[in-house]
Chain length 335, copies 4
């Protein structure tokens, strides 16, 4: 089979990880990396096997040798880049969230279907071994009918206020992953959402019209109920737990740690803190999502999580924001 | 100090436990047990050290030797019995919930203050060693400012439909314990509540205007947020977990088991299921609450959880019911 | 059935616990407590329901109303007291070890069989819920053939040198419990033993011809192999773990804790230390062993652990001591 | 720095893993793979980046471009290969055990010192994150003086009788890893050893003069005591646990699992079995040991575990075998 050439737009933290993972996959080559700060990336670029480093993403879009586009740049660039890729017939892997505009996203949805390109969204958590094991338990009916889905998702440290300003708010930036996880675990869409929260970690976040602590409840199409709790600062580490409770059982996922050492001392019995943040926690998942994406391309199968999954998570983020602002539950329209 | 004589009204499951625990306490004697089904209780009564078994609770109220009344009879008898005890100057230990009527409860509240009797409500979970350790961590500021309180409370098996009919509904019968725990753990009152749920365990429960699965979110006066999840049937046992997340840490309580055996076999690694139900899980707590109550009487100290605590939990049950019925969050009035 | 009257010789820590537990059992009464320091025990004695407190154990042996003797006095008094009880036809509950002399013990063994009295030895650990669950797994062949038995038994703090002097040494005083547990868990006798160790906690213990740290290996009649490790000082608490590994599985028992709280903080994730010492750890087991003993008497069944079990544990203590002193494995004679 | 060229002798299970790991390391290239069954390895070889596949290891030894030799062939080839490499000035990474002859090993020890080549032995477990964390706790004196070292090491399935025949016996083939771990964890040499065991998993192993179940106790130069327990068949998976108990604390390492899912069902609460075998369990450690080896070469630092470590582990295997055969403890000579 023909080798796949990849162009990567955006070589920040997540872009770099994707480049490293792509390079581990047989039959795939990173040809070009585009980033406006290319000048500062030279040292890192030397450690890769990529051919070109450029400031201009047009160098990728105009390169007929490139088959696949990775979009790791800021959210406001996603839609234009996907649209351009669709016109060129390139497949796309795009980081979350797709955009901050439902209308734009929907237009792009129609375009990619028309152009028949594959677009996978970077919901890496679906590829976590523990979470996908729980998903399998649900699919195999081992848990019976799903009654309650619980997701705890807390970052170890709050973002800068600058970042908050550009992030689209907690629901678009952080909870978006949990919205996808909530749909994934229950194998059902969400019909209603209610959100409450506050700026408890850093009151200054409120000045940016955002919050850092939230509890969001969900009603599912299949009758189940869900709840997500978020905090921008869990001082003990990245807290990523899920629980799916059904008529036949309950599956719980606890946090990962670096070692399995338990230390018994005079005044305490202690063990490792949870892995610090997403890079450590989802290291394997980041590889798996990229590997799965290329397999789907090579075997011409549906990608998952799809653009539609991204769009639905985004829809929940809009609804959560509205619920938080109005103080009332918000119904989710069918797409 | 003078011996305290106790009369117990209602010798069902919980009434019997209280009799057994009272008999372990120095300086306290169960004098009379009153139950309309006294005839069926003779065998059990023989195993106690109590003097009288009667069908008529008036035999207790009219006995000037009796100092303390335990009310373990159905909810609709609570208010009349507390009122009668107040008139006689008897101290009262009353099972939850106090009543199904906020007005009656409030009238009784005024009466017991006027008559200066002590009334402790049977929120046994406050006396669980693990939960009270978490409460202490909160009080000592070990967790910092409280941001999120989470309570999971699931029964191992659903009640009969007959019981459901008389229970006042899930919020008064089951969640009432969690409402008290929610206030206790956060050391703060609740200002708003939102409830969603359904009859997922047994659809017939819906015909009795009740649900068996619920998620309830809370806003606290101190800015914290809370969430309770309930189910009437967790097939794996009585699921009683709490979590208090604050600016300095997170305290989690997992379930108790009968043994500490872990069994490694070819196809599984397994351990004990959670203790089956409240009798097993809170056996020690049932003793501690009664012991604490008599200590408060002997040393003339405030009882805790107080009648006011019971009234506030009841208020939350009303609000949760209203929220569930209207589909909207409900604000809690200051008492 | 006739009430059983009990005399208790020795009201130290363990004697007091037995009195409290006996008083919880229906149809059994502590009539007399004998202790040379009776004068100092008056305050405690007031809290019991016992009739007499005396300095002279003859007051028990000469009391025809007394049916059962509890021996909680120092080891050198055990044999004379059992012998006297046997002559009177009293049943006996005796603390471990039976004696420091194999010959004396064997003579007494013959006497109690001749006089047909029941003698139970105070190996309380057999009554621990976790350990007896593992025993059941072995008996039900759930673990298959037993291959390896492992026992970890470490005290939280070393005894005084005075106590060491009178204790008979670590094998008689401490490991004796593990020797019984080793036989109990494997349902097999031991045929050979090897012991090594040293005075690592407190070098002064060596001056008393004793050690405080030991590893003892066992060969079983059924082909299995065992290992016990002991320390007189585990700074983190009383460490009582067992493991039985067989052809079909492995059962492990971890330590008990007071609560199920797990605390996540910036620099640690911690939980409760193991329960401090035997009074806390085996509180329930101390009750169960006494309850079982009286049931055996009332129903005229065999007591367990029996005098023979005590004798065999003692035999292993002798062999371990000899192995430690000679540096060689020691074979165990068939009784 | 000059690129390092590597030749690998033996491309069985472990040889293949080393090739894959070497290829991840910057500045190192696998040039030639030699294996008598080269014909069957072509498909695998195609997935590597190596240049040559040969049946003849002389092709490596005679290649002046090759700097480093990996010895992954049967034990009886180790000494001749190390000797040849030493003559050529190649550095060596050699799998365990070094040999079955103490004299030969000692001669080679002198040779490699004379020729000044680095020889690292494949004790991969030292590179496990959990075990090395415990080693660090020991080094930092966090555990105080080491009193007891415990190692549990059980394979998930027994080897074929053919393999047993060639393996040198359990102590050389399996316990050798534990002997190294025992020295590593305690940071002390062993002075005496005692071994007992039997053919409990498969009695036919006895016909090959070997056993499959063993308990080995150790006395350390620093006064500590150790115990290793081995089985060739733990039906529940590869059981790899350690424990280091000291005057200030106890560090325990439990097994690794694939996921962190806990499943609560009606009749059980279960979690993942331990990772199946060494390839899964020590996947990361296999990479780390190779990475460390090349770092030591590039920076001209001492390798660890060294040839001397391998020789000492081998010495313990000899002593364990002798102890098992004679039924007596065996002293270890100073090298």
């Amino acid at each position: 089979m023909k080798n796949l050439n990849v162009g990567v737009v955006g070589a920040g933290r997540i872009g770099k990880i994707h480049v490293e993972n792509i390079e581990k996959i047989d039959g795939v080559t990173v040809k070009t990396v585009a980033d406006p700060y290319a000048g500062e990336l030279k040292e890192w670029f030397e450690t890769t096997k990529a051919e070109n480093l450029t400031e201009n993403h047009e160098d990728i879009l105009n390169d007929e040798d490139i088959d696949v586009l990775f979009i790791c740049s800021p959210t406001d660039t996603h839609i234009p880049l996907i649209n351009a890729a669709a016109e060129k017939g390139m497949h796309v892997f795009c980081e979350k969230p797709i955009s901050f505009s439902h209308e734009e996203t929907f237009e792009t949805y129609k375009l990619i279907n028309e152009k028949n390109i594959k677009v996978q969204i970077g919901f890496n958590r679906r590829f976590d071994r523990s979470f996908s094991k729980v998903k399998n338990l649900v699919e195999e009916n081992r848990l019976g009918d799903v009654h309650i889905v619980k997701i705890t998702s807390r970052d170890p440290e709050p973002p800068t206020l600058d970042y908050v300003e550009r992030s689209g708010g907690i629901f678009f930036d952080m909870t978006i992953h949990d919205f996808d996880m909530a749909r994934y675990l229950a194998s059902s869409d969400v019909t209603e959402i209610y959100a409450q929260g506050g700026a408890l970690v850093n009151p200054d976040i409120a000045k940016h019209n955002d919050i850092d602590t939230a509890i969001i409840t969900l009603k599912y199409e299949n009758g189940a109920h869900g709840v997500i709790d978020n905090s921008r600062e869990a001082v003990y580490g990245y807290d990523q737990r899920i629980e799916v409770f059904g008529s036949k059982g309950n599956a719980m996922v606890s946090n990962e740690t670096e070692t399995k050492v338990k230390l018994f001392e005079k005044d305490s019995v202690s063990e490792d803190n949870p892995l610090h943040f997403f890079l450590e926690r989802y290291m394997d998942a980041f590889y798996e999502e990229v590997s799965d994406f290329f397999t789907a391309i090579k075997e011409d199968k549906q990608v998952s999580p799809s653009f539609e999954d991204g769009m639905k998570a985004q829809q929940l983020a809009f609804a959560a924001k509205k619920s938080y602002e109005t103080g009332k539950p918000v119904k989710i329209d069918k797409l």
